[in-house]
Amino acid sequence: MSMLKITDLNVYYGSIHAVKGISFEVEEGEIVTLIGANGAGKSTTLNTVAGLLKPRSGNIEFEGQSLVGVPAHKMVSRGIALCPEGRRIFQDMTVRENLEMGAFTRSDSESLETRKRVYERFPRLKERRTQAGGTLSGGEQQMLAMGRALMSKPKLIMLDEPSMGLAPILVQEIFDIIKELNAQGTTILLVEQNASMALSIAHRAYVLETGRVSMSGDANDLLHDKRVQQAYLGG
């Protein structure tokens, strides 16, 4: 049984049909990536799984249970965390408070314990723990956003363009961390513009085109597919 199973999902913004009957699956322990051009519906899909948007139709199943109608704030306790597009860290709150919010549904002692782990993984965050989130650099903000998502100890973490706006060396660092998280047992659903990087770390991939899945398969196969190379890998 798949961990996450999306079937024929349709999402609208008013009359705009943004996601048009998408289906895909994520198995436990996998890194699955959704790639596609701007406006393909990647963020819409993740936000719908996270409960921030309501689908018009279709089904979302997580560990065999339907997520449709489950409010967004109940998702973390089910084991799902979304690291949203644009990071959306709390600018006026300190690094530590941001992390505390990530563990909102957990006890203080669990929160403290996980925060230690997050600081070990991101020593920069520890150095800056009393600094306001809004004063961090772009790379640090991305680390904070990921650290915050990890604070709930999710089974599935969804990352929406974690490499956006980062220098190449930081992009590499972020992707290394994603691989590491996965190696330690977290299932990952990754949305990326940086298709070559995403395909190189993912197990499987789905290509989204204007709200539909146009191709899917083994990430390595797609990385070497002519059409994918032409459309998303710059040649």
Partner: protein, 293 residues
């Protein structure tokens, strides 16, 4: 001594404005709406305390407690019935609803308690303090008001900086979507803020009526507007801003009354607001709002 007396009275009146303004500013911060009915909750608090003391013969402290509990519930109910259904609606619709709620509360009070002013007995049955051989007399209500305002400020600061719910409130004020992703129930957090704001309004109402002991259905309007002005002056959404704005406004009002006459006082208060907003559009302690491009 006249100067000192005025200053003390100004700080005391300003403390009441500050307590009311805190409610305005916290509700604005999280719900991004101006709750124009906030002033009328003050009035309801006054009546609840009045009834408890005068009609039911309960001790003042119990009266205050009942007023706080009553107004807290009122705040939650009003939010649930009038504002929650409008979440995401245009702000004009929300504003008009708030004005509607304000009229509803005033007219309900008129219906229940009548138009005749009630003579409110102070909830602080202590004698005035006399200093400098009786040249400076400070009423016990004046002192109590300042102390309560300080306690409220300290309490709220600790609440928002130390407790999980307080931090959740700040998180919701910044980004409701992200807050939900953390597992924070945004609806109940907004409810909580209305509850706190309304409870504070009840305290302000009781203190105000103890200092200016006439109580009628419109008692809350003017202090409500002044406190709103104070919140804007200090920077709407900012908790220290509301406190600063409130105290400044109280001082300005009392001094204007003393030196320029009662008729001028309110005009001066609003003139100060306009001048401050011309120089600092976000208010004294408000954050500059960066337009997103």
């Amino acid at each position: 001594m006249g100067f000192l007396t005025n200053l003390i009275n100004g700080i005391s009146l300003g403390s009441v404005y500050a307590i009311i303004a805190l409610g305005y500013t916290m509700v604005y911060g999280i719900a991004k709406m101006l709750n124009f009915a906030h002033g009328d909750v003050i009035m309801v608090g006054g009546y609840l305390c009045f009834i408890s003391m005068t009609n039911l013969g309960l001790p003042p402290l119990v009266g205050v407690l009942l007023a706080v509990v009553g107004c807290t519930c009122l705040g939650i109910v009003v939010e649930r019935l009038a504002y929650k259904p409008l979440r995401g609606a245009p702000s004009l619709a929300v504003l008009i609803t708030a004005i509607g709620v304000s009229y509803f509360l005033q007219n309900s009070a008129l219906l229940i308690w009548g138009a005749n002013p009630k003579a409110f007995t102070s909830v602080i049955p202590l004698p005035s303090v006399s200093l400098f051989d009786g040249q400076l007399v400070i009423s016990s209500v004046t002192i109590a008001t300042v102390l309560v305002a300080i306690a409220v400020m300290v309490g709220l600061t600790l609440f928002t900086s130390r407790t999980k719910m307080g931090k959740a409130m700040r998180a919701c004020s910044e980004d409701k979507g992200a807050a939900q992703l953390m597992g924070i129930n945004v609806n109940s957090t907004i409810s909580m803020v209305f509850a706190i704001g309304s409870g504070l309004a009840a305290i302000a109402g009781v203190l105000l009526c103890s200092a200016y002991p006439t109580l009628m259905p419109t008692t809350g309007s003017m202090p409500g507007i002044k406190a709103f002005t104070a919140a804007v002056l200090g920077g709407i959404g900012s908790i220290p801003g509301a406190a600063l704005g409130g105290v400044l406004l109280g001082i300005i009002e009392i001094f204007a009354k003393a030196y320029l006459g009662t008729q001028f006082a309110d005009a001066i208060v609003f003139a100060v607001l306009i001048v401050v907003l011309l120089i600092r559009p976000a208010g004294l302690l408000g954050k500059e709002i960066h337009e997103k491009v």
